[in-house]
């Protein structure tokens, strides 16, 4: 009698508990994708591929299996969501346009953090969209060509001083000119311009800084400052000097595709404080590098993450390591 009671008790406790756990698990499974975030070395996003129909809700349960991660969709206004280790965060997404979207990790989770990306395929009737190639393609710029400025300013140019020349610079202030010319080219053009012959070399550098200044805005620079801190500073350094915490760890090898690079030296991140390098790069070239990535260096491809506007903001921010702005 007692023995039977004991058996029933054990069965109720253990089997009941088991059923309850199974039921709870099953509840969590129904129709909802659980997206696991792991450091790229141990798997990255699992799964790294999602499919949903346009205008249909995509319910996600986000969780991290190791450290803090974040979730965001490239080129979207959807605010980034933090993913905490062992905690489930629920999120519902809806896409009205068919196409391919990239989701990426927004919190640095190690040296390979930027490799942590996945894609969402949104199916449906798509409207034919005209895709404009990036500027560097349009103007036929070889962004991998080595460049080194011959002329550099003797001190940090000031956009404020350059403002004095504003009436003489109108031809150089257009966005087309600014984007397709490196500051050095602009300076050489100004130097060659006979109407500006009266100005000293440094005054013309101030003018170049002013051209930069008029092609950006305070809002753009402050947005870019934030983007830079979140996405770039870990390698390029908070000060832009290429001395970020991961600067000496970016090994240009991961996966078979990059095997050709194995055995190569570590490519150090670009030092934006080096005038020889940055003043000889045009905004189009910098934007090209930014959206395409470094091809074998540790530089990620940001084209699917940042909007075009954001890339131009970031480019203008990079020059702020060379120029003093108007305050």
């Amino acid at each position: 009698m007692n023995e039977k009671l004991a058996l029933v008790f054990v069965i109720v406790v253990l089997v009941g508990g088991g059923i309850a756990i199974g039921f709870g698990w099953w509840q969590g499974q129904s129709n909802i994708v659980t997206l696991h975030a792991r450091m790229p070395e141990t798997g990255g996003w699992i799964p790294d591929n999602l499919t949903v129909a346009a205008n249909q809700p995509l319910d996600l349960r986000l969780t991290s299996d190791d450290v803090q991660h974040g979730f965001a969709i490239g080129q979207s206004d959807q605010p980034a969501v933090d993913i905490n280790p062992g905690v489930v965060t629920e999120l519902t997404l809806k896409f009205d346009q068919p196409g391919t979207y990239t989701y990426y990790c927004t919190r640095w989770c190690g040296v390979n953090h930027w490799r942590m990306r996945g894609t969402i395929t949104v199916t449906g009737e798509s409207v034919e969209q005209v895709v404009t190639p990036p500027l560097f393609v349009q103007i036929g710029l070889d962004i991998d060509a080595p460049h080194e400025a011959e002329f550099i300013p003797s001190s940090k140019p000031s956009a404020q001083n350059g403002e004095n020349l504003r009436f003489e610079l109108s031809a150089y202030q257009t966005s087309e000119y600014y984007r397709s010319h490196s500051p050095e080219q602009a300076w050489v053009d100004l130097r060659k311009d006979l109407t500006l012959a009266a100005y000293s070399d440094l005054q013309l550098w101030d003018a170049v800084a002013f051209i930069w200044q008029t092609n950006t805005s305070e809002d753009a620079l402050s947005e870019a400052e934030e983007l830079y801190a979140q996405n770039c500073a870990a390698c390029h350094g908070v000060s832009g000097a290429g001395d970020g915490v991961f600067s000496d760890q970016q090994v240009p090898v991961m996966g078979e595709a990059d095997e050709a690079f194995s055995g190569h030296e570590i490519v150090l991140p670009t030092d934006f404080t080096d005038p020889h390098h940055i003043l000889s790069a045009s905004p189009a070239a910098l934007q090209g590098k930014l959206i395409r990535g470094g091809m074998g260096t540790g530089m990620p491809m940001w084209g699917v993450i940042f909007t075009e506007e954001q890339t131009w903001s970031l480019v203008s921010y990079l020059y702020s390591f060379q120029f003093k702005e108007v305050h």
Partner: protein
């Protein structure tokens, strides 16, 4: 010693001294600015031990070198979080003396619960009290002439 009671009295007085003198000790307050650049990575803080004086204004710049880490200061109940590439600072006045553990406050991997450091404000009185008491305990245990009487074993009744 002829009179054990005298020795015990002296020992008792010594214990009181060791316990209370550090409490009565009031350190000089200099209100200095102290700043530290603390790197957090691989489940450790570098430097792991920060020493300041009571009343100092302490600024800790936390620099994560692998994943997101935090720094929580025991006793002060303050914390700060830093991503790699985004150093964060924590500023406070060290108005409590003692040794406080620094603990990582963001799960940063398997060894996260053991990612620890120390903030020492002023002298570490507790450890000196502890050492002092241990030596007094040594004297005490040697003073006992007969280590506490062994009760007669009742083998059978």
């Amino acid at each position: 010693m002829k009179h054990p009671a005298v020795s015990w009295l002296i020992l008792g007085a010594a214990v009181l001294l060791v316990v209370f003198v550090p409490i009565l000790h009031k350190p000089e307050i200099l209100n200095k600015e102290r700043s530290f650049r603390v790197e957090a990575g691989d489940f450790a803080y570098t430097p792991a031990v920060l020493k300041v004086n009571p009343g100092d204004r302490v600024t800790i710049e936390l620099i994560s070198t692998d994943v997101v880490h935090g720094l929580y200061v025991d006793g002060y109940d303050l914390s700060v979080t830093a991503d790699p590439g985004q150093p964060a600072t924590l500023t406070f006045v060290a108005d409590q003396s003692g040794v406080f553990r620094l603990r990582c406050s963001v799960a940063c991997g398997a060894l996260h619960p053991f990612m620890l450091g120390k903030l020492q404000v002023g002298r570490n009185m507790l450890i000196w009290q502890g050492i002092g008491m241990t030596f007094l305990a040594l004297i005490g245990t040697l003073l006992i002439r007969k280590p506490f009487p062994v009760p007669e074993k009742q083998t059978s009744s």
